[in-house]
Symmetry: C2
Subunit: 215 residues, 2 copies
DNA sequence: ATAGTCCCGCGGGAAATCCCTTGATTCCGC
DNA sequence: GCGGAATCAAGGGATTTCCCGCGGGACTAT
């Protein structure tokens, strides 16, 4: 596979080139000293993988370059190689389309593993960095205890609550459930009483937190 | 650090015990053959780390045991060791409180690295497994293009849309923005016209997808 | 400059809908 | 059999919705 290295330190570039070229399946076909050069190099050589240092001050930051390159040349996988074990970077970089994140302090084997992983379409995140990713994931997904819900609300109420939250009118709900509008209103009152909600927005928020809004 | 190993294969247990006890900083203080035994062992010995095989058929699945143990003994870190490189498992296991996920096919060094990482409070996910995690993360965070929004809707409309979606009544919105109810109605009409929405639920859905509902 | 367009704000009035209180039925567990 | 909850429902006042229309300010193209 063909690789381009982008790093503002010449020594780092040649060092990694040595290591990589020593591999049978890897060929370093270019190098760049900043984000702009990296973009140009990718445009010219079309590598399979671009290894990019995040902190390249002069031309353009590696982060921005990552976004641009990924947008124009999505086939080139981007592996971020950095000395920051900062969580913030990880998020931004992933959102900008990078496929991997390896610390410069990692052993050579890890770099090679990362390269081969993303070459095959995978994503390589330095395991320790996964912490923040997992935390975010759990946070976004585990808001709902769901348990307390089923204990408090009846079947009917549990059926009506999401509909209200989704913005359906009482009439629509009534038609959908083949009951009277008045009944829907009664249920709604009961729900709000049980859950100690006193306004529609609170109800929407509640439903949202309990993941009842699945459009 | 003190470790308990849970695996239904005796050979696996002794094998790993050998490897781990060979380390200066690790001491295997117990073993279990199923989820129930694992729970009891954790209750008795209070290890720093529990290494758990996911697929233990007889007593109780490792997954469920993980949840129970984590709930009652949150100080014990749980490292999942499995042969499944299945995405589904990863999610469930993380939600149930595991701190690490390592494949049985991984080299010993990786296991040791994982143990030490989670002992220090980190989270270790096998890098290749990060793929699905990242995918989910990006999906949950990048649903909104947000761009098209700001082009279509005016400032005021962009201010009102979320309020409607959140369930606020026209009157409340009017009071909050110091404008007339009639004006709110007008804006609402404009919004629905521009976005081709014809009902309140559609509007809520739209707002939700654009991440405008941030309670 | 003038006309066109968009954003913002406001209003009337009629019909539909929502909100709140009250009450009837049924079913369940004690 | 009796309290309690679930389900259903009506009456009446408050609110929203939907149809209209009005005017001022900003920006643009002619």
């Amino acid at each position: 596979m063909k690789i381009v290295i982008a790093d503002d330190h010449a020594m780092v570039r040649s060092g990694f080139s040595m290591i990589l070229n020593f591999q049978d399946d890897i060929e370093v076909i270019g190098a760049a000293a900043d984000g702009i050069e990296a973009y140009a190099m990718v445009a010219k050589r079309r590598p399979d993988i671009l290894i990019m240092d995040l902190s390249m001050p002069p031309g353009e930051s590696g982060l921005i370059a990552t976004g641009k390159i990924k947008e124009d040349y999505p086939d080139t996988k981007i592996l971020i190689l950095t000395m920051h074990d900062d969580e913030e970077y990880l998020f931004h970089v992933l959102k900008n389309g990078a496929s991997g994140y390896v610390l410069k302090s990692a052993p050579d084997e890890e770099l090679l593993l990362a390269i081969r992983t993303i070459y095959e379409g995978g994503t390589y995140i330095h395991p320790k960095m996964a912490t923040s990713l997992v935390r975010e994931f759990i946070k976004k997904d585990k808001t709902a205890s769901t348990e307390d819900l089923f204990e408090l609300l009846s079947k009917r109420e549990l059926e009506i609550l999401p509909l209200i939250a989704k913005g359906y009118g009482n009439k629509e709900i009534a038609e959908r459930l083949f009951i009277s509008v008045k009944t829907v209103e009664a249920h709604k009152s009961k729900i709000m009483e049980k859950l100690n909600l006193k306004s529609r927005p609170e109800l929407v928020e509640y439903a949202l937190k309990k993941k009842l809004l699945d459009f």
